[in-house]
Symmetry: C2
Subunit: 361 residues, 2 copies
């Protein structure tokens, strides 16, 4: 490695930037991370933490599934390495239950189940009774799917752990924005999420903010406890998920719409999430509403992120949509491979920003 | 006044305690106010700020109406005195619109209007069109009432102004609880809201917490502005009010139920308030949800507060239900009269805690 005297700069202190910075510092790079508000300032802090490539899968998006599954495969080691640095990132292997409330939902799940089985993935169809046994307290469902291989992570523990592990490896955190790419001495990794489009001309029209509202709830005394699994459903056309945390908190997400860089929590978003959650878990009405928040996911033009080189020593790692936490390990490994002049994981090729050039031709 | 060398102790830093402390200090008493979290710690900080005895009126509760109206009459001077101390408490004279969404609501409003007219109060019946002209943006209503004499106050400006005015008059704020009545040197005024029942045996079974959730919203760019008046309605059996603030904020309240001393904001409370508000003002869905909060009103056994002497030099001023802000001026004037050995406002007699003794007989 010729990098021993070059500083690597990471722009963005969300899950991607923190993962890259920690891994790069552990690999021997002097690393500087720029973010006016690392850890807590972006979409990663507000995420549900589902590591669920399979239940997010859909026919025609096999590249996304492959990349997600490759990253999921890397997650346990990633979590062990972090734990070794001293902070448990709260990885949970409780699987996902996907619920159907009407015949249209059930039809949707059949398509999903068939697709996943054709790809050789483990998926189990559930009757109403089986679903209620796996997730006590759920409402009147028609049926569901159980995907046992999905993981979940406590996003806030994870981010805290990544920052701490990075600091232990000597990452220098600077609470500032990138002034100009011209002033950066060595390689630079642009991982500023929805804001990355403002950092490099190749991404100017390619990355856009996808607003999402998310709530955190906590059972009060006498309430039914949260379900032991991640529970997902489409309620009146809106996808809703409930992710239990080890500390008893329940994350309820998430709206998704385009509203520019607006990050206001709206009355509509909160009302829709609460209504949807009541359908899934009627007892949630008596839970305490602990937090309402809104963040901006980084959307790409398709369902894949942009991870690759966009200029001499300039790498991007953004556009992960809802999958930033899931795809952090494979993204960090890919960036580290490029920095070291090695071959990246094969699955990252589909995420190359070179596909933007093809669109322009 | 023989009090020139005696300290008056006020327990509770909500609107009642702050009003009494300010008025007593201005009248020459050395005043000590005890509250672990004055100004922001109690129900007054979360109130809507309606000063609306008339639209709260109901046949059979004439004593409440009389007391409320007497206090309302004292409000403009109370506000002027506060303003003279330097801080405008944000008194607004925009009246109240009460809306009816169905024929049952309309029947309810007819009873209310007839009752108020029989008492000689100003009240105007509104057609749907008239209601929409007075409050642009409201949903499909059947009709309404306009009560032009109602006032509203910005509760947070008011509390801040009261604390500042009290401090200017030398009120000593101690961030502590009352240890024991035995240690208090001079007269003491128990104004600790829902907690007052714990301070004196005569109130132990008489004051209870009435939990309420309340939201604050703010129009985002492009949103319809809040209505210029306080707007109230019963939506699916639940009373909802929207109170506009001079700074553009809109207060949306309030749930009411008994849950002991629990102050958790529940999913149900937030959902019900948002649903009700959407019925009244459909455009509110795009407003930013700025704050969710829950507080504990002090309930009495009937609809009246307890204001009077319960022992030698021990006064209570609590149990104001939803009317603490409204009734603060008349309550403070009554307590001040007793401290000075003068006659209190006649209307306060109905609020005497002596009625608890009668119940026991």
């Amino acid at each position: 490695m010729s990098s021993e005297h070059t500083i690597a700069t990471v722009v963005g202190g969300g899950v991607i930037g923190l993962s890259v910075a920690w891994r790069a510092a552990a690999a021997g790079w002097p690393v500087r991370l720029l973010d006016p508000e690392p850890v807590r300032g972006g979409a990663s802090w507000l995420a549900g933490g589902m590591l669920a490539p399979v239940t997010e899968a859909w026919p025609g998006e096999e590249d996304v599934l492959r990349l997600g599954e490759e990253s999921l495969r890397r997650w346990p080691q990633f979590a062990r390495d972090l734990s070794a640095a001293g902070i448990d990132p709260g990885l949970a292997g409780h699987g996902t239950i996907v619920l159907a409330f009407d015949s249209a939902d059930a039809g949707h799940l059949e398509i999903l189940a068939g697709h996943l089985r054709s790809l050789g993935r483990a998926v189990e169809s559930l009757t109403s009774r089986e679903a209620r046994r796996l997730a006590p307290g759920i409402g009147a469902v028609r049926g569901g799917l159980h995907v046992p291989g999905d993981l979940a992570v406590d996003n806030r523990k994870l981010l805290t752990a990544l920052a701490e592990a990075g600091a232990q490896q000597g990452v220098e955190f600077r609470r500032e924005r990138l002034a100009s790419l011209d002033d950066v001495p060595g390689p630079v990794v642009l991982a500023a999420g929805a804001w990355t489009g403002q950092l490099h001309p190749s991404l100017a029209q390619a990355v856009r903010p996808l607003k999402g509202e998310i709530l955190r709830l906590r059972p009060r005394r006498g309430c039914l406890p949260p379900p032991p699994h991640t529970v997902r459903a489409i309620v009146e056309g809106r996808p809703i998920y409930l992710v239990p945390r080890a500390d008893g908190e329940l994350v309820l997400g998430a709206t998704q719409y385009e509203a520019g860089f607006d990050q206001a929590v709206t009355a509509r978003g909160v009302r829709e999430l609460l209504e949807g959650a009541e359908r899934i878990l009627p007892g949630i009405t008596e839970y305490e509403l602990v937090e309402t928040a809104a963040g901006l996911r980084a959307g790409s033009r398709d369902a894949l992120p942009y991870v690759g080189e966009v200029g001499e020593g300039v790498y991007v790692a953004t556009g992960h949509h809802r999958n930033g936490l899931l795809m952090a390990p494979v993204t960090a490994d890919a960036v580290l491979a490029w920095l070291a002049g090695e071959a990246p994981p094969a699955e990252i090729a589909a995420a190359s920003p070179a596909r933007l050039e093809k669109e322009r031709v």
